[in-house]
């Protein structure tokens, strides 16, 4: 049966602004399926984003939505979550927004282990401004500001999140559509900071500069360059050369989350007052 995405889409907001073949729409569908599975209530759900193509996502979803300034989603979201710990707070955004200009907030959000989920749609480029290289553009790749090939090394966003202290980190791709909602559901159900990196495609500003002939070729590339963590266990280092792992990459149980810890601060302060 056809999936009823419309119940989470604000009336009259489609078609969305994303280019033909952009995977952000696939991720948004995954997010909606995840919200459904989780039984989220619209009034109690807050999606926070920064600036960029991916950060336009909240405008389409019918719940409390906050489209903030470039790079600041994690910090705004921290304020929302602190003020209302009972709300389900989800950050969404792109790789440049989250990990370059917003990198400081991103790592400290992970360090605090605040009970939110951050979904990074990593298309390896600044799409909205026309295709400048980002902090996750591969070395050697072409962008409008790397006409001779990118000299910068790229962030591994999942590793960054793990290193910074997130207690749940997963990676999916826009090609593996059925996996997206499953990863988001597991991330949200995890008590503590969860980061889901979705490897995405930008046919318009990345694909055409990097010899991808079509959207499908970019999608196939996501399929061919990724390996599920389970499958990787049985593969040799040679076989894993050039492959990126997908699935749940890290999960740490038992660490208290930030708003729970702050509730204890309030208890201690009030006990001291008496």
């Amino acid at each position: 049966m056809s999936y009823d995405y419309e119940k989470w889409i604000r009336p009259g907001k489609l078609p969305h602004i994303w280019c033909p073949g952009c995977g952000h729409g696939i991720v948004m569908k995954g997010l909606i399926r995840a919200f459904d599975t989780l039984g989220f209530k619209k009034e109690n759900t807050c999606i926070v984003s920064g600036i960029g193509c991916a950060s336009r996502l909240p405008g389409y979803i019918d719940c409390c939505t906050l489209h903030t300034a470039h790079g600041r989603a994690a910090a705004f979201a921290t304020g929302v979550k602190m003020a209302r710990p009972e709300m389900d707070v989800i950050c969404v955004g792109g790789d440049g927004d989250g990990c370059a200009i917003g990198g400081n907030h991103f790592i400290h959000m992970c360090r605090r282990n605040i009970d939110m989920t951050y979904i990074v749609m990593n298309n390896k480029i600044y799409g909205m401004t026309g295709g400048q290289f980002s902090s996750s553009t591969p070395t050697g790749a072409k962008a409008s500001t790397t006409p001779y090939g990118n000299p910068d090394p790229a962030f591994d966003i999942a590793k960054l999140a793990i290193g910074a202290g997130a207690t749940f980190v997963a990676r999916g791709t826009a090609f593996h559509a059925t996996q997206i909602d499953k990863l988001i559901v597991e991330a949200v159900q995890h008590k503590g900071m969860s980061v889901v990196e979705i490897l995405d495609d930008c046919p318009t500003t990345y694909g055409r500069r990097n010899k991808f002939k079509s959207v499908v070729e970019m999608m196939n590339n996501l399929k061919e360059t990724t390996v599920p963590v389970k499958a990787a266990e049985k593969m040799t280092p040679e076989q894993l050369q050039g492959k990126v792992l997908t699935g749940v990459l890290y999960k740490e149980e038992g660490r208290s989350d930030y708003t729970t810890e702050y509730a204890k601060v309030i208890e201690r302060a009030q006990a001291a007052k008496k």
């Binding site: 604000r10 619209k42 009034e43 109690n44 807050c46 926070v48 600036i51 909240p58 405008g59 019918d62 719940c63 409390c64 939505t65 906050l66 489209h67 903030t68 300034a69 790079g71 600041r72 994690a74 910090a75 705004f76 979201a77 921290t78 304020g79 929302v80 979550k81 602190m82 003020a83 209302r84 009972e86 709300m87 400081n104 907030h105 790592i107 400290h108 702050y262 601060v265 309030i266 201690r268 302060a269 009030q270 001291a272 007052k273």
Partner: protein
């Protein structure tokens, strides 16, 4: 029952004033000379069930208070010069998205790192023009520890009433001095909360101006769902580039403050009625100025003090009136003429405006002001 009296530092009074006003959320980043505000908030807020968070940077702190305010909390951040510069983009976000929040900036020397422990009054123009684009600006400039408390309460009230960020800018001297303060009883100073929507959630629009220029603000998590963006927006909160809407919305945001200036502006006139020389001053400089005015009067010089308590919006009309009957203005200030320029801008050349400027970390002392009065008499 006698009121609670304390000997407090200005920064401490700011934190207590915020809590009196109903603040339940503070996000900040350590910076001299404002840090005591964060320290006191970290102690006092959890006692009243409020939250304190030390963010990773100034931008994060500004962002977090806006997020908390949208979730219904009265929120405060505190900083000083370089921190104010860092916060500016997000202050602009608060202006366009119309989010009540209070920013306390304890003014120190600048630009850049400048003189972290030296007093200054050089952030005054940054309070109005620091963030890009046109936007409403409210800036309060208390001159005593008691006034820091009172004006912090008023700042929250104005932020909530006009749905906009409000700045409180004591200079370092006022922020760090210790004075006697009388705590008002609960309810003694009225505390204003933002207007909640009167319509049910399905009819709510976050920028609905059908009841006036200040749209009611619902809280995330209170049963209402809506969209907030830093893009120019329509009444339903969604972005637009339609010229007439963008023009009207920007004008409305500025009008919220301009049309309500009488309610927001606050100043004190000390011996201004018959004055030939009027000193226009604020913060610690106004304390030196009062001293100088008293000394001048003893020496037969008809001097007066116009003490700004609200700096923005600036009392342009009153300044113009006064300018018609005085021989000169003097603006003593710890900057290179920021207030001087504003006074000149509103008096249509009716009187000369002399400046006494310190950017050396030294306060303007009364003798300097008296000397200038004698020069211009």
């Amino acid at each position: 029952m006698s009121k609670k009296v304390a000997f407090l530092q200005g920064n401490e009074a700011a934190a207590h004033g915020a809590i009196y006003a109903g603040c339940t959320f503070f996000a900040g980043y350590p910076i001299t000379p404002s840090t005591e505000i964060a320290e006191v908030c970290s102690v006092e807020l959890p006692k009243v069930g409020g939250k304190f968070i030390q963010m990773e940077d100034e931008i994060g702190a500004m962002s977090a208070v806006l997020g908390a305010s949208l979730a219904g909390a009265k929120a405060l951040t505190a900083t000083s010069g370089p921190g104010l510069s860092l916060k500016q983009e997000i202050i602009g976000y608060g202006c366009i998205a119309e989010i009540p929040v209070v920013i306390i900036d304890i003014m120190r020397g600048g630009p850049s790192t400048g003189m972290p422990t030296g007093p200054s009054q050089s952030d005054i123009m940054a309070a109005k023009w620091g963030t890009h684009g046109d936007h409403p600006a409210i800036c309060l400039v208390p001159a005593s520890v008691q006034e820091i408390f009172d004006e912090t309460v008023r700042a929250f009230n104005l932020a909530e009433k006009y749905r906009t960020p409000v700045m409180v800018m004591p200079d370092e001297i006022v922020g760090h001095m210790r004075e006697r303060i009388v705590f008002p009883e609960p309810g003694e100073i009225p505390v204003i909360d933002r207007t909640a929507p009167s319509v049910p959630p399905e009819k709510y629009k976050p920028y609905d101006t059908s009841f006036g220029d200040i749209p009611p603000l619902a809280a995330f998590g209170s049963g209402y769902k809506f969209h907030v963006t830093g893009l120019n927006k329509m009444e339903d909160g969604f972005p637009t580039t339609k010229a007439p809407i963008v023009q009207a919305e920007e004008e409305r945001q500025v009008r919220k403050v301009e049309a309500n200036k009488a309610d927001i502006m606050k100043w004190e006139e000390y011996m201004v009625d018959d004055a030939e020389i009027v000193v226009v001053a604020f913060g610690s400089t106004s304390r030196s100025a009062r001293f100088a005015v008293n000394a001048a009067r003893e020496q037969g010089i008809k001097a007066g003090l116009f003490r700004l308590i609200t700096f923005w919006p600036f009392p342009e009309e009153r300044m113009l009136e006064i300018s018609k009957k005085v021989k000169a203005f003097i603006t003593p200030e710890m900057n290179l003429g920021q207030c001087n320029g504003v006074v000149r801008g509103c008096i249509e050349g009716n009187a000369p405006v002399y400046g006494i400027y310190h950017v050396d970390g030294e306060p303007v002392n009364p003798e300097e002001i008296l000397k200038k009065m004698k020069e211009v008499k």
